[in-house]
Structure formats: structure tokens, C-alpha cells
Amino acid sequence: MPYCSNCGVELDDSVAACPLCSTPIQKFDALTRKPEDSPYPQHIIDPEDAYRLSKAERRRIGVELLTLAVALASAALLLVDLLSDASLGWSRYAVASVVFGWIVSVTPIVLYGRIKAALSIMAAAVIAFLLVLDGMDGQMEWSLTLGTPIAMTTFMIAAATAEIMVTRRIKGINLLGIGALGLSVFLIALESILRIGLGTSIRPYWSIVAALALVSVAVFLFYLHGRVLRGADLRKIFRL
């Protein structure tokens, strides 16, 4: 019987190396058994694996369940509305909300691992939802002047801020400063859109005050980041 010269343990005829220390085992061909004579089965797949769902299958089932739930809820809402009023009234708003909820929940599942594509579709869904809600009574009132511009501005500024944050080489307290700058730009844009949409004086006021406060905070944070903390990691600073 072969044995390991390193560990001193005896080994099975079929092995080429010691299972404890991997020392090669000298063998005599005539005595050597074939690999298929190993005392352990070599197939790795457990029959139970057939019942184990892969992540993709779980996602597919999740989408199916969500879709079925949304379809049933929408049908129920429409039928209740039809039965009570003999026409579609309030249920259209409810169904639009349910469908919007479906798009927002299904998109990240379907586009798993593609965050940018999922966020783009969800942003488009928000804008479409606002337009549909506004246009249900036959005329566009607030969506074109307020809803859509505010949503698009929010998305664009958030995307730009996130992009700038991601590209920073050192991610420390400077990220808070970038966030503060992004917020100040957003506030100015928001007030401008509100003033244009409502037809009041174009000159922004309160947003400038808020932005100035935020910019000074950002400048302080950048200074702290560059001069005092020298790019220290946020997790290190705020460790509990």
C-alpha cells in the first residue's frame, strides 16, 4: 500500500498525491488502479440541484408574479369602476399608478446588473407617468410646464453629480462637498422652473440664498478634504 513520505499516512492505490500535503506518490503501474476506481463518485452534480433555482430563474419568476399581480389588480380596479359608474373614471388614475409601480419594480429585475440602463428607463417612466396623469382629462396643464422640466432637471443634475463623484480618485469628505454643490445647482434650477412655469418674476431669490450657504459648506469641505484630512476615507472617520 502506498504511503506519503511526508505525513507518514497510508493512501489508496488510486491516488497520485497525498490528500493532506499533496506530496506526489510513487506508484508501480501494475498495481495502480484506474481513476474510475476512486472510492468517491466523480460526478459533481447532486440530483437535488435540479430543484435549485438559478438566480435568472428566480428573477423570471419574480417578474411573472409581479406582472400577474399588476394585471389582476388593474382588471379589478377597472371592473369595479365600470360596475359602479358604467364608465371609466377614477380607475384610470389608479391603473396608471399601478402600471407605473410595475415598471419601476420590474425594470431593475429585468435589467439586473445594468444599473445605468435600468435608471434611464425608470427616469423615462417617471416622465411618461407625469404626462399620462396630466393628460387623462384631455388637456395638458402642469406636466409640460412644471412636472416634466422638474423631473428631467432632477435626473440630469443627480446623474452629473453621481458621475463626478464616481470619477474622483480619492473618495472622502469631498463627496459631501460635491453633493452640496449639486444640490445648490438643483435648487436654482428648481426655482427658475417654478417661476417660469407660474409666470412670475424670472429672477431667482430664495434658491440663491440656499445655494450660497451650500457653496460655502462645500468650499469648507473641500478645504477640509485637501488640507486637513488629506483624503481620509469616510468609513474610517465615521467608524462606530
Binding site: 497520485a16 490528500p19 500535503c21 506526489p24 440530483p47
Partner: protein, 474 residues
């Protein structure tokens, strides 16, 4: 398949009484105690089992395995017939796990249970979400028959009786008759209600002081193997020579092997760079389970085991092997005492019976139990080594079985665990590990070799010659 008018119906007279008439509180938890035994039978989990469903995951299977290597190739059809024949005798194993609002429970399972093909990595968790799924399965490969059974159902003693009865029936179908009794059940016999009692409840002594809570133990370092894989390393020795060696040290077989295990753990800890400073070490503590049927009168086939926790505190210095033997022997003698064991039994039972704990919905209880398992379970010991003892196969077919092994599944916390069992003169010691490095196995077996014992080692993980286990230190 279990018959509808099956063996549960002829329960003994006391169990036929309405459950209110029964004095002990534990008896009412079983549907068999009621007047409608066939209505929709279910079982409550025993007090050792209630923790396991909460912690079951792809990483923690809680399945252990008894396998027999036969002289001849396994006749799978005959094995299936033997399994079908003995299953009605063990109705408390023919169940599926279900979720209640407050606790998990067992429900009788009428689905067929097929013998399945064995695979390279054993003891994977079976789905408990799928209806009709059993908590055990019989597997076969070449000359090997294996029973993989979940700890929720039973412990090593119960599993061994089922496995022995299965082998006896298998050989009976080949014309080898075996007398019933001594751990081999007659398939046509009637199950005794004592076989499915929750013995923990009966032996709890309300008012007993709680056991002292231990401190955190050192845990093996190591990178995890891929999910759904496990390295099994089995060493076989001559039982007689190990017994002689244990006697030389004035110890029993279990104490001797536990001491070797602790010494091997010390070797691994000594070689670990982070443990270079002794002051920063944690104690090495081993869990050595014991069959409580040896201490309390019970014939239950459900869980009824507790453990001793021999340890060495390496902050005090290096322990020589003889020192470890003395310490392990003393600590195990103290722990294997019916009064001490009753403390732990009482703590476990009373915690589960606490009304404030009982009213917590299962979904929250699971979160609570998972954290308890980590803080009061795995955290307190470095590894686990169980000695199941003699396989006690009947003489009629004992020669037909070359070897019996018991394999334990490891967990991400313990990483490597071991189980031992003897059949005739073959003592089998199997390690189950979920980490790449195998220095504990190597330290353990080489210590036995250095002690003058002949050890034959095999593993399911084939390593290329000259390629060391990554990150191994020894």
C-alpha cells in the same frame, strides 16, 4: 409509502386519551395523543431541533451522513425495496418540515422516497420549501450506501438504528436473515410512542440553575471553498491499536481522540501569524457530543444529545499532549454528569417554553434564533468532534460491510469538523471542511502517525501532485 391506517393508529392506551387528560405538558404536542390519529398527523420539533430550521441555508445544511462501504456492489432496486419496507416502521421520519405562525412543525409525508445517486460533495441541504420533500435521503454509489439525514429529525443514535434496520432488510432480501432487536427494528412491528417523544421536555427540571455561559473560542482561519462543495478527508485506523494507545495514556478512546484533536488545533493556532502574540489568542474549545440516553432513561429516536466542551487556554502557554489528555479527561468527566446535563436541558426547554418567546411570530423568531446560534452556539467552540461509537451491525451481515463512516457537515463558522465511528476493527475518522486549507486534518492525522498508529487517508478532493492547499501553514 406510509399506509393511511398505518402504524400510528394503534397507539398505547395512555396516548389514546384526550390530550387534556395527560399530566405532562410535552405529550399534548403530538397529534397521536389525540383521539383522531388519522385526521392530519403532525409533530412538534424536539427542543434540540427547533434551532436548525432557522439556520438552514445553502452554507449550513445541518445534514449528517452515515455511509457503509459494502463488499459487493449495491443493488439499487433491492435497496429501494428495503427502504420502502422499513419506512412505515419509522413514521416519525416520514415527514416534511412546515412553517407555522409561531413554530416550525413536521407534517406526515406520503410522497415516495427514492434512493438517489451519490455525488462527489455530500450532505447538501435539501429544499424544505418544496412540498413533499423529506428531511433524509438514501444514496448509493458503487459499493457504498449512505443515509443523509437532517439533524432536525434525529441524532446519530436514531439515524444509526434506521440505517442498521435498512441494511438488515437489504440483506434479508438477499437471503441473509437477521434477528430483530438490539438496534434492528422489525419492519412489521408497531412503533412505540416512546420512540417519538421529546425526551428533553421530560427530563427538564424547572427551577434548575442555568449553566454558566462560556467565553468565545478561537476559530480556524481559512478561505471558503466554493458553495455546494465540501472536502471530506477520512482516515481509517485499527480500533484495537487505538484502544491500546488510549489505554497507555489512561484514557478512553473518545478522550484520547478529543485530546489529539485539541493538540492538532493548538498546532494550527501556533502556526498562525496572528496568534504569534499569546496574549491575543482565544481558548481552543472542542465540542464533544454525548448520547443522553446513557444518562437519562429514554428510547427516543429523535434528538437527545448534549455535549462536553473540553478546552485549553493557550494564553497560559504551550500544552504538552499529556497535559491535554489530563485536562480533557477531567473536563469531560465533569460535563458528562446527569445533574450538569440537566441544567442545560432545563435551560433549553424553559427558553422555548417562555411565553414571551412563544408569542413571537416565527419570522421574527428565526432572526432571533440565528443570532442565538452564532452567539451561544458556534461562537463558543472552535470545532466539533463526535464519536458515535461502535456501529453494532448484527453478526449476520457484519462481514458484508467493510467500513462505516459518519460525516458531519461543516459550517462557515466552524469550518472543519470531525466524526468517528467504529465497525469491527476499523475506526473511521472523517473530517468535513468548507475551507481550502487542510492543516487541521494534516495535524490530526500526522499526530496519530507520530504516536505510532497506522492511518490510511483518503479524500474526495483530488489534489494535483506537488500543489499545496492554498494558504496552508503546516
Amino acid at each position: 409509502m406510509t399506509k393511511k391506517s398505518g402504524p400510528l393508529a394503534p397507539a398505547q392506551a395512555q396516548y389514546r386519551q384526550p390530550y387534556r387528560a395527560l399530566g405532562s405538558s410535552h405529550a399534548r404536542e403530538y397529534s397521536h395523543a389525540r383521539e383522531y390519529p388519522r385526521a392530519h398527523p403532525w409533530y412538534a420539533l424536539d427542543h434540540a431541533a427547533i434551532i436548525y430550521p432557522a439556520i438552514l441555508s445553502d452554507k449550513i445544511s445541518a445534514y449528517f451522513r452515515i455511509q457503509a462501504t459494502l463488499v459487493d456492489r449495491v443493488d439499487v432496486e433491492r435497496l429501494q425495496a428495503a427502504l420502502d419496507a422499513i419506512r412505515p416502521r419509522f413514521p416519525y421520519l416520514q415527514i416534511e418540515l412546515r412553517k407555522g405562525f409561531f413554530w416550525f412543525f413536521f407534517e406526515r409525508n406520503e410522497a415516495p422516497n427514492r434512493v438517489v445517486q451519490d455525488s462527489k460533495f455530500p450532505m447538501q441541504k435539501l429544499s424544505t420549501r418544496k412540498r413533499g420533500g423529506y428531511l433524509y435521503r438514501v444514496r448509493a454509489f458503487d459499493k457504498r450506501v449512505a443515509l443523509e439525514i437532517c439533524h432536525i429529525l434525529t441524532d446519530g443514535y436514531g439515524a444509526m438504528i434506521f440505517f442498521r434496520s435498512l441494511l438488515a432488510e437489504y440483506y434479508r432480501m438477499q437471503g441473509i436473515q437477521t434477528e430483530y432487536g438490539d438496534g434492528v427494528f422489525d419492519p412489521k412491528g408497531t412503533p412505540d410512542p416512546a420512540e417519538w417523544e421529546d425526551a428533553f421536555s421530560r427530563h427538564a427540571t424547572p427551577g434548575a440553575p442555568k449553566p454558566v455561559r462560556g467565553t468565545a473560542a478561537w476559530h480556524l482561519p481559512g478561505l471558503a471553498l466554493p458553495l455546494y462543495t465540501m472536502r471530506v478527508t477520512t482516515g481509517t485506523l485499527s480500533l484495537a491499536s487505538v484502544l491500546v494507545k488510549a489505554k497507555e495514556y489512561g484514557a478512553t478512546l473518545t478522550v484520547y481522540l478529543a485530546a489529539v484533536y485539541l493538540a492538532a488545533l493548538q498546532d494550527v493556532q501556533d502556526a498562525h501569524p496572528r496568534c504569534a502574540d499569546r496574549r491575543k489568542r482565544k481558548p481552543l474549545r472542542l465540542q464533544v457530543p454525548a448520547n443522553l440516553r446513557n444518562f437519562f432513561p429514554s428510547t427516543t429516536l429523535r434528538n437527545f444529545s448534549l455535549y462536553a466542551l473540553p478546552d485549553i487556554d493557550t494564553r497560559l502557554g504551550h500544552y504538552e499532549f499529556r497535559e491535554i489528555i489530563v485536562r480533557a479527561k477531567a473536563m469531560m468527566s465533569l460535563a458528562y454528569d446527569s445533574k450538569e446535563l440537566a441544567r442545560t436541558i432545563t435551560r433549553n426547554v424553559m427558553t422555548a417554553k417562555n411565553p414571551f418567546i412563544r408569542i413571537i411570530p416565527l419570522i421574527l423568531k428565526n432572526i432571533f434564533m440565528r443570532s442565538v446560534y452564532k452567539s451561544h452556539g458556534e461562537n463558543l467552540y472552535s470545532s466539533l468532534a463526535t464519536n458515535v461509537g461502535m456501529a453494532r451491525l448484527p453478526d449476520s451481515f457484519a462481514e458484508k460491510v467493510l467500513r462505516i463512516d459518519v460525516l458531519l457537515p461543516s459550517t462557515p463558522g466552524l469550518k472543519t469538523v470531525a466524526a468517528m465511528i467504529s465497525h469491527r476493527d476499523a475506526l473511521s475518522i472523517s473530517f468535513g471542511s468548507v475551507i481550502e486549507r487542510n492543516d487541521l486534518e494534516r495535524a490530526f492525522f500526522t499526530r496519530l502517525v507520530k504516536d505510532g498508529l497506522r492511518v490510511k487517508v483518503e479524500s474526495n478532493q483530488v489534489t494535483d501532485p506537488g500543489k499545496e492547499s492554498s494558504h496552508a501553514l503546516l
